[in-house]
Structure formats: C-alpha cells, structure tokens
C-alpha cells in the first residue's frame, strides 16, 4: 500500500481492573474509507472507541497516526490529532442548550466573552446541512427527543473538521428517515476523504455503506472483511463465533482474501 493508514492500532490492550476487555487489537482506518466495527454486545466495541478517543487510554499497544506512533492519553490528544467521536451515550450536557453543547470546550469568543450570535449562526448552518428536523437551538438538550440529541452529538463531532470520525451506534435511537440522513452524511464524509469507524448492528446498513468490516469477539479481533466481496453469512458467522479467530493479525489479511 502506498500511503500509511490515517489511524492504525497495533496490539492494543485495555483492562479494567483484572478484566482484560481488549486484547491485542489490530485496526486500520484509511482516508476515504468507512470501516464497520462489528461484534456482539459486550465484545468491546465501545471500549475500543474510548481508547481511540482518549477517554480510557490503552495501557499496551501502539497507535499510529499517518504511520507515526502517537500517544493518546486524554480526549484532548485525540481531538488535536483530528479524531472526533459520537459516543454511544452521546456525552451531552443535558442542561446546556444545543449551541452550548456543540461548542463546549471550544467556544468562539469576542472581546473575551462568549460570542453567542456567531456560535448560534454556525450551529444552525451546520444543523440545516445535516437534518430537516432542526431542533430549537436554545432549548436545553435534555428536553429534546432522542433523535434530535443524536443529531446534536453528530453535529458536534463535525465541528472541528475532523479527519477520523468514530460513530458508536449512531443510528440506534433513530427512526427510518433520520437513519438515512445519517447514512447519507457518512457517505458524503467518506467522499470528502474522511476516515470513518462505524459501529452498527444493522447488517443492511453495513453492507450498503462500509468498505471494510472488522469483527470483535470477546475483546479480540475475529476477522477482517472486504464488505463488497464477503458474504453476509461469513460476517455474521464471525460475529457469533461460528468461525473462531480466523485471521489473527492484519498482516494475514491480504493472503486471506
């Protein structure tokens, strides 16, 4: 391969106390690709997302950014690299309004004070691009519907023009129309050269959208697939464990498929 992947994990491990939740994880995300991260409940998908976004840093393994090893110890580090995340629990502040949540931690200032007008203007621009059901920008987020909250979280992740986007079950709380809005958006972002890691339980969406799929099972890699060539049955078998640990390391991937 010519250029190194945007983001690569090599042998990443994460434990909570004595429980090893992630073991020797390998993962690559390339620019302009959507990688689906699949796995049963409790497989460690969300934990992996939190490792990459610096919420719960890994204690072992290497994270490479454009081929060069980097340290991600805090959310701040990930953000500086250009990694944005939509967490499964959304991580919004319910008491803040939509604008406040979008710009939390990177408020626009004017003469040292918050520039609410400019922040609100950019918020409404961004949301209008993303969805047709733009919520009341000044309502506290706790009073929005779960779909609207999901949209707010997605909008927030896009605000800093990230290069890698991690989406942890972004469509789980959405209806049909909003789900297709989100999937269209992911499609667009890929076309603009963003690398996307998409966690989803919907095989239809994965098939339609993803370029590659990585399967986790009990905290380990349990297969990498080219979504265009692999069959749905193959992928599901890997998720459920019918095919155990086929390619243990990424290096074997090319040979395998």
């Amino acid at each position: 391969m010519a250029s190194p992947p945007l983001l690569a994990l090599r042998g990443v491990c994460k434990r909570f106390g004595v429980v090893e939740v992630l073991t020797d994880i390998e993962l690559e995300i390339r620019a302009g690709q959507v990688v689906a991260l699949l796995g049963d409940n409790g497989a460690g998908k969300s934990t992996l997302v939190k490792v990459i976004s610096g919420v719960t840093p890994a204690e072992k393994g290497i994270i490479e950014w454009e081929g060069r090893p980097v340290q991600i110890r805090r959310p701040h580090d990930a953000r500086n690299l250009g990694i944005a995340t939509v967490y499964q629990d959304l991580a919004l502040c319910g008491n803040l309004d939509v604008v406040g949540n979008l710009f939390l931690g990177r408020e626009i200032r004017r003469f040292g004070f918050l520039d609410e007008v400019e922040m609100e203007r950019r918020t409404s621009q961004l949301l209008e691009r993303l969805t047709r059901g733009v919520p009341d920008l000044r309502a506290p987020v706790v009073s929005l519907s779960s779909g609207q909250r999901q949209t707010v979280a997605i909008a927030r992740s896009l605000l800093g023009d990230p290069r890698v986007l991690l989406l942890d079950e972004p469509t789980a709380a959405l209806g049909f129309e909003q789900t297709s809005e989100v999937l269209d958006l992911v499609d667009q972002l890929r076309d603009h050269g963003m690398g996307v890691l998409l966690i989803s339980h919907n095989m239809g969406d994965v098939k339609a959208l993803a370029d590659r799929a990585a399967v986790l099972r009990l905290g380990r890699n349990n297969g990498f697939f080219d979504v265009n060539t692999a069959s749905q049955e193959q992928i599901i078998a890997s998720i459920t464990g019918a095919t155990e640990n086929v390619p243990r390391r990424m290096a074997h991937r090319e040979a395998g498929w």
Binding site: S53, A91, N95, L114, E116, V134, V142
Partner: protein
C-alpha cells in the same frame, strides 16, 4: 391561525428563523399579533419544558410582601425596605458562592466557618495587631480564597464529594477561628473604620441611587439592542425592538422605584451597591465567559465535560475558591453589621440560610441550573419573612417553620422542573 403558530413554536420549530424576512411582510396588525403569539408560545414552551426560572420566587416574594404589608403597613416603608436591602448583603454574598458550588452539583458546608474565620483574621490583625485596615481586609479575603482553593483541590483530586471535604473544613476552620480569637472572645471593630462603613455608609445624595438605576437599565438596553443588531445583520432570529423596550421598561420601573424608596430613607446603601455589582459581575462571568460555561457543563455531566477536554480539576478548584472568597467577603459584611467579631461568628443558621437562599432563589440542587441573581431573590424572601416576623411580633418558632416551608416548596419545584424536562425529552 392561533393554534397553528402555537404548535409550531411549542415543539420543534421547523426553522429557527421565525421572525425574520418572511414574517415582516404582512401588515402591522398581523406583525403585532405574531409578536404576542410568539411571546405566549415561548412562555408556554418554557413552562412545559420545566424552565420556570425566577417566576416562582418572584411570586413568593410578592405574596410575602403583600401578607406582611396587610398585617402591618410599616412593612413596605422606606426605612424597613432600606434596612432589608442591607440585611440581605452579608448572607447574600455567601449565597452567591453557594450558587457556584450548586451549579457544579456539589455543596460547600464550610462557608459559615470560613466567613467567621475571615472576620476573625481581620479583627485580630487590625484591632489586636495594628495592621492597617486595607491590608487586614485583603488578607482576610485571601484567607477565604486559600481555604476554598485547598478544599476544591482536595475534592478534585480525591473525588470525595465536596460536602464531605467541606464538612471537615467546617470543623477545621471553626477551630482555627477560635484559636485565632484566643481567650479574648469578642473583638470590637472600629466604629468608623473601613469595615464598619461597609454596612453603615449611605450615599445620601439622591443622584447616586438614580444613577445606579439609570446605568443598570441603560446597560441592559444597550446590550440587548447590540445583540439584536448583530443577529439581524446575519439574518438570525432576534428579539423585536418592542420586546426589548418592554423588558427595559419593566426593569427601569423596578429599579427607579427602589431608588426612590431608598432615597426616602438614607439614600443608596454602600452595602447594596457592592452586592449588586458583585452579583451582576459574577452573573456575567457565569453566563458569558468560557469559565462560566465550564461551570454549567460540570453540573450537567461531569463525564461529558471531561470528554469535551474541559479542565475538570481546575474548574472544581476554582469554584470552591470562589465560594471561599465570597464567604470571606460575606463574613466581613456580617461583622460590619454588628461592628464586632465574637466566637459565635459564622455559626448558627448562617450556613443553612445561605444554602436556602440559593435554592429558594431557583438554583437547582441537582446542578447545572441557576444564576447568581437567585441569591438576591432568595435572600429577599428569607429576610422579608424574618423582618416581617419582627414587625408583627411573631415568635421565631413560626419564622423557622415558614422559611422551612418555603424552602421545601422550592426543592419540590426544583425536582418537578427536572422531571418535567426529562419527560419532555423522552416524549
């Protein structure tokens, strides 16, 4: 038409551009109707979304004042109202600090002790050791800042809830105060000194009170108008000019009535001026700065704040530093009121009153909701009840029960507002 607009503004407004270009085309009549409808719709939305703000406490205050005025018509006399405005300052300043702590979802139990400690530091330095007043004053306030910073840093680092850490602080700082005061017991302050003047000085010139009222309302008007202009320039939803005028007029009516009444007694009290300036200043800090936004964020979700790369340790430390500082300043005003510092300084009901004031004023115990103005409104309620009881010769026992009832009501409203908001979100 009425129905249509309501349901639109109630739920998710299709586009947040309601009162712009399109709506300005219809005739003036329709435009006015639109203004009123939007106003009503916003109010309804706020009510149904559990954002009551200061409405309940204003109603309670009105009820308290009407009740006592009907029992004894000297209650709303210039003298009594003027005294009331000075009596709320000491505890009110402490309550402002409590608002900060409540906003991050914590509680500071040490503010009473810290206020007593600061007063003792001042008294011992100035009276017993001849340190100049201004220096003793600064050192006393810094004592509060340091006490708060130490506690805040401990809370942030140990992740022990603040009420536990500050409970230890309550005892420690009270002990420290007794130690500093030593056997002398009570220290009398200089009757004409700087600290005594804090609550005894009045701007007897009528112009002072009116100037404060004019400057306050003028600033509010200018800021709203500037905001409106900028929003219009970029085609964003904005208040109507009429709306701004009405708001300013209401504010001006309150401010100038208060100024008039204060001038009928001894003029604008220095203590009230300090209180209002600090409350307004800290309100701007909380609602218009990056620091303030972080305070609210921590109260909303500490985990979300952390994931948004906020400096959680720094904010927690700073918030308790603010409450320690405000406690010290409040303590000096309380000492000023009685021109002495005794071993009882900062004890008794002070802590409970400061917390009650913040909560009665509408600051949420669950964190993330409230403003510094709730300290003013809450203190007005508490002190009005106390003063009304004195005027009507009612026993203290009844005063406690009534204040307790009001506090209970405030807590229930707070909890209900929170529930309504969440239910609204789930719908």
């Amino acid at each position: 038409m009425v129905k249509g607009t309501h349901s639109e503004a109630d739920g998710t407004r299709a586009a947040p551009s309601a009162p712009t270009a399109d709506d300005r085309r219809p005739g003036r009549r329709a435009a006015l109707a639109q203004v009123i409808e939007t106003g009503v719709a916003v109010l309804r939305r706020k009510l149904s979304a559990g954002e009551l703000g200061s409405l309940p406490v204003v109603l309670v205050l009105a009820a308290v004042w009407i009740t006592f005025q009907s029992l004894n018509d000297s209650f709303l006399s210039p003298r009594n109202l003027s005294n009331l405005s000075v009596d709320i300052v000491g505890t009110g300043l402490i309550a402002v600090g409590i608002v900060f702590v409540l906003l991050i979802g914590e509680l500071d139990l040490s503010v009473g002790s810290v206020s007593g400690l600061a007063a003792a530091v001042f008294a011992v330095l100035n009276v017993n050791n001849g340190v100049p007043e201004w220096l003793a004053l600064i050192l006393a306030v810094l004592t509060g800042t340091v006490a708060g910073t130490v506690q805040g840093y401990s809370v942030a680092k140990t992740r022990v809830p603040a009420f536990v850490v500050t409970l230890a602080g309550l005892l420690t700082f009270n002990g420290l105060m007794l130690y500093i005061l030593g056997t002398s017991g009570t220290v009398n302050l200089d009757e004409d000194g700087l600290v005594a003047q804090l609550t005894s000085y009045y701007f007897t010139n009528d112009a002072a009170a009116y100037a404060l009222a004019a400057v306050g309302t003028g600033l509010v008007f200018l800021v709203s108008q500037q905001d409106r202009r900028r929003r219009m320039a970029v085609g964003m939803p904005h208040r109507t000019f009429r709306g701004i005028v009405v708001r300013t007029a209401v504010l001006a009516a309150v401010a100038f009535t208060a100024a008039y009444l204060l001038n009928r007694f001894q003029g604008l009290p220095l203590a009230l001026l300090v209180f209002l300036v600090m409350v307004a200043g800290l309100d701007i800090v909380l609602r218009r700065t990056h620091y303030g936004r972080q305070v609210y964020a921590l109260g909303g979700s500490i985990e979300a704040a952390r994931r948004a790369s906020l400096n959680v340790t720094g904010v927690q430390t700073a918030v308790l530093a603010v409450s320690g500082t405000m406690a010290a300043i409040g303590g000096l005003f309380l000492a000023s009121r009685i021109t002495s510092v005794s071993q009882g300084a900062g004890s008794g009901l002070l802590l409970l009153n400061a917390i009650a004031a913040a909560v009665i004023g509408g600051t949420s115990l669950f964190g993330g909701r409230g403003t510094t103005w709730s300290a003013v409104l809450g203190m007005l309620v508490i002190q009005s009840i106390a003063s009304g009881m004195v005027i009507t010769d009612t026993p203290t026992a009844v005063q406690f029960m009534i204040t307790g009832g009001v506090l209970f009501a405030a807590v229930v409203i707070d909890a209900l507002a929170r529930r309504t908001q969440e239910a609204h979100g789930r719908a």
